[in-house]
């Protein structure tokens, strides 16, 4: 299929990618989904995971930690809190991220915060750890 859509990956600090993609696999908070051109307009939140982009020029992968994705037929924008190209990812960075998540979980538990923040932090930690094993760096 030659069809493509405009794909944008932006983080608060900079725009990371803007290209034509044929399919993008998104780590949605309720499960992974793959968006292709002419997908129904959808907005979903992200969980920490790997974003896989397939484009005619080649495939690329990014690690994202939360944020959301906006799918609108012929375009897809991913707004990630933090996004790192997989190629630049190292074990050390992953460990830092896991450590951060663990720290957050700890403080959330100690302070007994409302809004289910404790569960959120626990989930984040679990996601992060799973990600670390998955990547097997």
């Amino acid at each position: 299929m030659a069809q493509t859509m405009q794909f944008d990956l932006v983080s608060p600090e900079r725009a990371l990618a803007s290209l034509q993609a044929s399919a993008v696999q998104i780590p949605g908070s309720e499960g992974d989904m793959t968006a292709m051109p002419q997908h129904a307009p959808t907005i979903t939140t992200l969980r920490p995971g790997v974003l896989k982009v397939e484009s005619p020029e080649g495939n690329s992968e990014y690690l994202v930690t939360g944020g959301f994705a906006e799918i609108a037929g012929d375009s897809l924008s991913v707004l990630a809190e933090r996004a790192i190209p997989m190629a630049e990812m190292t074990r050390d960075q992953m460990n830092t991220l896991i450590e951060e998540a663990r720290e957050m979980y700890k403080t959330a538990k100690e302070e007994d915060q409302p809004h289910g923040l404790v569960e959120d932090a626990a989930k984040l930690l679990a996601d992060m750890e799973a990600l670390g094993t998955h990547m097997s760096l």
Partner: protein
């Protein structure tokens, strides 16, 4: 009438002052470019974020179950003013303009019988407001250790503000920062962040009806705290660019003033040197005539 030696020393000291201000101007110019780039890089995110939020807020906003961050607490008794300024001075009216706006707003609110609380970001704003609003300070964020302001800094500030909001410490939060227009113009701006208000850009919100996963309200509850961080982040970046711009033009003025002063002092120095020579000649001539 200062002696020749005095004049010489003064010229030298003004010259070294000029060197310093010139150097500061050039440093500010380099930093300004970086700050401007950072501000521009963050714009796509903020723009899209606001577009999505505007759509969400429009569809959920009216309902009773809308999150507090969007709907407000139902009162506007206690106001939190988040005053964001620079950590350093010598940047013209930058810090005092922001402080002035915040002071004005605080006075206005107090006159209307509201309670005012102040959270300062950046040392200079704290110093400027200490006398008038010192008793209303509830906290201070120090960014002097950070060379480059990142999203993490904004998240920290947002977390602090949200914790206070959840604890019921205030009803309305407003951030104060300086909007960067160009090197000579920076506009001190006040922007309300809680309850959130999102302005949809023309022609963007109208469009496809989205599926939401999970539900609209969960997404909104997830995104609103991020929205606070995003707004603070763009405020911080605008501030960063404004600060360098203000410093650049202030230092440019200072360099020019120093140049003018050097010219004036040099003329004075040459005149008095000539006066001394003329005096000596007159003495010699009149001495010769007396013989």
């Amino acid at each position: 009438m200062p002696s020749l030696k005095d004049l010489k020393t003064r010229i030298e000291s003004v010259k070294s002052t000029r060197k310093i201000t010139k150097a500061m101007q050039m440093v500010a110019a380099a930093k300004l470019r970086r700050a401007q780039e950072a501000a521009e890089d963050s714009r796509p995110y903020a723009k899209r974020f606001n577009a999505v939020m505007a759509g969400l807020a429009a569809s959920v906003g009216g309902s009773e179950s809308a999150p507090k961050l969007l709907r407000g607490t139902g009162s506007d008794q206690t106001h939190l003013l988040v005053v964001m300024t620079a950590e350093r001075g010598l940047c013209g009216g930058f810090n005092s303009n922001i402080a002035k706006l915040a002071r004005h707003k605080a006075a206005e609110l107090k006159a209307a019988g509201k309670t005012v609380k102040v959270l300062t970001v950046g040392k200079k704003g704290r110093d400027a407001l200490k006398r008038d609003l010192g008793s209303d300070f509830v906290g201070h964020v120090d960014l002097s250790e950070f060379k480059r302001i990142g999203y993490a800094n904004a998240q920290e500030i947002a977390k602090d503000i949200l914790t206070r909001f959840d604890a019921g410490e205030f009803d309305v939060a407003t951030i104060f920062y300086s909007e960067f227009v160009n090197v000579v113009t920076q506009i001190p701006t006040a922007q309300q962040i809680i309850p959130a208000s999102f302005e949809a850009e023309e022609g963007e919100s109208s469009g496809a009806v989205y599926d939401y996963e999970p539900g609209e309200e969960q997404i909104l509850a997830d995104l609103l705290p991020r929205g606070v961080a995003t707004q603070i982040f763009s405020g911080l970046l605008e501030n960063g660019a404004s600060e360098q711009g203000a410093r650049m033009s202030a230092m440019d003025n200072a360099t020019r003033n120093a140049g003018e002063m050097i010219d004036k002092l040099t003329i004075e120095f040459n005149r008095s040197r000539q006066a001394v020579i003329t005096n000596e000649l007159i003495e010699i001539i009149s001495g010769a005539e007396a013989l």
